[in-house]
Structures are given as structure tokens and as C-alpha cells.
Symmetry: C2
Subunit: 394 residues, 2 copies
Amino acid sequence: MKYNFSKGMAELKPSAIREILKNSGDTIPFSAGNPAPDAFPIDDVRMITDYVLKKEPVLALQYGITEGYTPLVDELTELAHNRYKVGTDNDSVIVVSGATQIMSLVTHCFINPGDTVICENPSFIGSLNCFRSSGTRLVGVSVESDGINIEELEIALKSNQNVKFIYTIPNFQNPTGVTMSYEKRVRMYDLAKKYNVLILEDNPYGDLRVSGKEIPSIKSLDTEGLVIYAGSFSKVIAPGIRVGFVVSPSEISAKLTVAKQTQDVHTAMLSQLIVYEWLKAGKINDHVIKIREIYRRKLNLMCDNLDNELSGYLTYNRPDGGLFVWAELNKEIDMISFVKKASQNGVSVVPGNAFLTDGSQSTQYIRLNFSTPSDKGIVDGVRILAETAKEMRK
Amino acid sequence: MKYNFSKGMAELKPSAIREILKNSGDTIPFSAGNPAPDAFPIDDVRMITDYVLKKEPVLALQYGITEGYTPLVDELTELAHNRYKVGTDNDSVIVVSGATQIMSLVTHCFINPGDTVICENPSFIGSLNCFRSSGTRLVGVSVESDGINIEELEIALKSNQNVKFIYTIPNFQNPTGVTMSYEKRVRMYDLAKKYNVLILEDNPYGDLRVSGKEIPSIKSLDTEGLVIYAGSFSKVIAPGIRVGFVVSPSEISAKLTVAKQTQDVHTAMLSQLIVYEWLKAGKINDHVIKIREIYRRKLNLMCDNLDNELSGYLTYNRPDGGLFVWAELNKEIDMISFVKKASQNGVSVVPGNAFLTDGSQSTQYIRLNFSTPSDKGIVDGVRILAETAKEMRK
């Protein structure tokens, strides 16, 4: 039988990265995006899970309500308010199966095929593909060292029809590592208000700040119910449990809940109970302090080594947090050839075009992840990249 | 701000059941659909979870691949083949976050707004709402005591455009409890072939057979790659872990995987590892024998009590398994008033129109669940229903 797929899914191209990185199985994974496994609170999770399965086994195993386990929703409402300064009486929180589900639910609730989403260009490929898979038109706006180009953003808002929302990762953006300035956050919010468009604020890395000063979220400015805030425990606890949360105007949260019911009914109860007990035990503050040390060490290790070994071959801005370094290769090095060669030499990196709204455009950028490889992997990997660059310049 | 929701989501009506059952918090839950909590393998889950978090904590907490944990996929491929007799070399298995996600992924991959899905009428409201939420046109075909009306099905296939798939629950259908005969399965498959339409075969209750003989699945007939088979551990292990699996032609499984990546990246690893270790330990056979005893007892308890106390007021066919009894009230009793009155008297049941493709149509049916209430709840609940019926006949 010949299958007749939906338009959005039929047009979603298989990732070019996969082709390029096909045989990169045993390489040093600068191409990955996994949180550092030594940042997982393994002992806490083990203790809590044991406790939960002894104390409340039926609760952990039975169906739950779609919005999330009520005590966890309450705990998250407080956390959002106190720690992340988001959420008013007009907002409500729901638990989701990882932050990617938020992009999916928002798309499900707002996008008719052909509608437009404006996003940073480059941006996180997972979210871009989520939008694309429902037939969304993506309009990319360039990213500067202090965040999205606001003038371009206004032009995009003015010149496109049916713009449903602006998608942004304001902290340590994936892939650029850029943090949006406070001024630009205010201006983005004002533009959203002016053009009557929502903002989908994705903040998976916010807690992973290793330098610089905390900047208020866009959601913290939200007095008109324009901002959907996506929070995640993938980097703060661990990604394998698949727990995130959304803070959005209650009317939107209600709609997202109906959509979630059609997607997975509810998030795994055991995962929810682990997060609930962990938060209730007041673990988050100390844990984040601890994992920031790990990320600070790894980020600086990668950047110091890049500075020492590759200064003539690439340039980058040292990010204040997150998981990635976004580096531009010198013009005389062909980016795609470099990525292939590096993979053959034992290091996989992601070619920058993967993150563009139009992936067929060319770029000199590559994305380097420092959280997945070991410290030794970082040192060895950067050395191999330097050797690759030297080899290619010959 | 006024929110401009997508067409599919905007048109999805809030459930009328919720209104009717609004104040049914403390009633006996014949309206529920939860598996019996005493059927959960709590000790096994506790032991396995402890083992997994000691032996492979990072695996349980780190990102996994979208298709599912590879050893689990292999285990499920064998299980599908040996236990459920589904899957050929042309098929492949992926792990999902509960079977509802399969309906969502199939919708995502095949439905453009306005496309048609043919389903049994009545059918499972969760799946119907999933299809509706993406702008699907639903065409319902009536259900007889041996399954869908095949003549009506052919008319529906002939007279509707862009039919993407037939959705069916062949075993102990929700809500009717009906099991489709082997002959009708063959005829449905032949019609799908003739009209070049897929079949989405949803089998959440297959293992909960308490009487009668096992009937081969439609997927077991699939030589042309027409059938997507949805399996679930919600009833066999427990729903709170959110693990199901799909067996479909490899080209479709690959597309479903891309869609799943945009929805939740992967299913919670801890949940996957629990199912994997439980299957690997060979627990399923004995466990299913054991839980069938529980379901047999509860089903017969409800039906025997219905026969004794309500024989003049309603009729039904005793199902061979599943979770539900589908009962038709005598004409002189107004169904909606009965449901409201029963709720006031302490028992909640679901009004049958909730399961119709056109919920505004009237019906004399109600759905009664026997797995959620305790044995005492079943006895008391049926007595209250009988009192309610008598009261209304006055």
C-alpha cells in the first residue's frame, strides 16, 4: 500500500544531521544535548522512588488527572511564583511529559496548517520540527549577542499573516548560547501586545546559569495574558523521567489540558511523584548550586581549550550558561567538510544549518555540547577538532 | 487578549458528561474506566524499580531514543509475535506513552483537517476526541452483537471522501463490550484492502478475556501493510506508568517515530525499564491468568446483580471481557434523568450519548464499569440503580 501522510508530516524532511553523523557511534559526542549524568540526583531519586512505591503504590500506578497530580500542581505553582517569578492569579499550571510536549500542545491548540510562527533563527531543531509537523510556516529572525533582532522582529510581525506566536528561548539559547537582554525582553513583550500575538517562552536552561546576573523572564512582565511559559525538569533533575510544566493564562491552560488528554492522557504518575517529593523536600536550591558547579567547570574547560587550541580557526562568545557553544569557523574552512572530517577523526559536532528555519541555507557555524562528554572527552575532543582544522587548512 | 484557537481544538466541545457528573465526587464510580487496583503487580514493580535504579540509574534517568529502549523494543517484538500473533518482517514496533498516544500519532501522521475517519458508533470517547481535535470528520458505523455492521461499513467507505483509516476496538469494545467475530474481522480487512484504507486496531482489553475463545486480531491477517496495531500495558501492568506499543508497517512506524519526537521525545525511561524487566522475567502469563480471575469475578458480580435487581428495567449482553457493561434502559425511563438521579442517589454512570460520533443524538444506553468499584461497591451500586429505576417508574 502507498501511504498518504498528512501534509505537515509528509513535508518534514528527515534530518540532514543524521546523514552527516551516521557513522559517529563511537565518537566524542559534542553533537549531543544530554545533561551531564553526574548532575542527576540519583540517590534522592532512588530514596524517593522507594518511599513512594511503599507508601502510595496505587497512586503511583493508577490513572491520574490530565492537569497533573494536584499536590504537584500546587507545588509547581509555588515554585513558579517564588523561584521563577512567573504566574499570576490569571495563570494556571499544568504538568507535562517534558517541555517538548508544551511546544506540541501549543501547536495543537493554535496552529491551523499555513499559520505562521516567528522564531529565533537559528533555534532548537526539536521545536522547529514540532511546529513544521503541523504545517506551520516558520519565519526566522536573526539573533544578536544580546538576543533577537527587535527591528527584524517587528518587520516579521508586520509583514506576515496569521502569526500565532513568537517562539523564544531567552536564556542560553539553543544553539547560540545567547541570553536576551532585559531591554529586549520588554520590547518583545510590547511588540507582542501591539500585534496581538502570543509569546511561547521556552526556558529549559534557565537554572544552568554559570556566570552573569539573572534576568527576569518575559512571563514575569505578562499583565495581559500573552505569554506561555515552558519549564522543564530535564536539566534540573533528569530528562529520562519526562516532566515539565507550563504556566499560562488559565483559558489557555484549560485548552492545553484538553489537547494533552488526546495526546497521552496524563504524565507518568511515578515520574510526577518523584518530582513532587523532591520539590517538597526542598531539594532544588542546593541541587542547582551543586550542578551549576559541574556545568561551570565543563563550560570553562571547553572554552579554555577552544581558546588555546582553535583561536585561529573559529570564533565564539562564551555563554553564561546552558549546554552549548556556538562557534563560527573561519571562512577558508568548509563547514560541512569540517563536520564530516571531525566525525571521521572521532568527534561529532552539529552543522549549524540544522538549526536554521531554512536548513538549505549555508552557515559557518557549528554547535558544540560540553555537558555530555566527560572532562577528558572535552579535552581530547577539542584537540581533535584543532587537528582537523589544521589538516583542512593545509 | 482574545485567543484564536485552532479549528480542531476550538470545535472540540467540553464533555457533556462532565456537566452531568459534576457533583459525583463521592459516588460509586460505575462511570470510571480504571483498571482494578488489586490487579496491579505492585510487589514486582517495587522490586524491579529498586533493581533498575541500583543497577542502571543513569540509563533510567537520561534521554532515550524515540523508538523506545532497544531491548524493550526487541522484547515487545517477540511478545507481539508470540503472544498476540502480530507483526511480520515488514512491521516494526515502537514504544509509546500509553495507547492514546498511538491514536494521536496516527492522527498527526495521516489527518489533514477535513479528512475522514470511520469508527464504530458508539466508540471510546478519548479516541474520538483525539481524532476530532485535529479537525477530523467522524463517520460512525453501528455495532451489532458480533461487531461492526459490515454492510454499513462498506457504504461508509464508498460514500465518503478522504477516508484515512477505520478505527476499531475488536475485543470487548468500549463502551459496548462487543467482540467482533472472526468472520467480520476478515471482511473488514478485505474492505480496507478494496478501498485502500488503513485500519487502526486498538486492543487495550484483549488480555482481559474472562470467557469465550480467543479470536485472532485483524493485524494477524495483515499481508499488505494495512493495519496499525495499538497495544497497551495499562490493563496488563498499570496505566500510571504510561506505556503502550504500536506494531505497524515499518514505513509507518518510522513516520510515527518522527511525530513522537515532536510530541514527547521518548517515553519515560523508568517506565520503559519497569516493563522491560517485568517482561524479561516472564511475568506476563501468570499475571494475566491471575488478573482474569479478578475481572471475571467483578464482571459476573455486576451482571448477576443486574439480572437479579434490574431485569425489568434494562437489558444488556454479558461481555466476554473488558471493563464495561453496556445496558439499554427501558423506553419508559428517560436516560438523562436516570443518570442524574442515580448520581444524586450515589452512583455515577456514563450516559451513552457521550460515545456517539454525534453526541447530540439520543440513546437509551448507559455504560457501567465494574473494574473501578470494590465488590461491595458493585453490589451497593446496582441496588441503588434498581431503586432509582423503581423510583422513576412510579
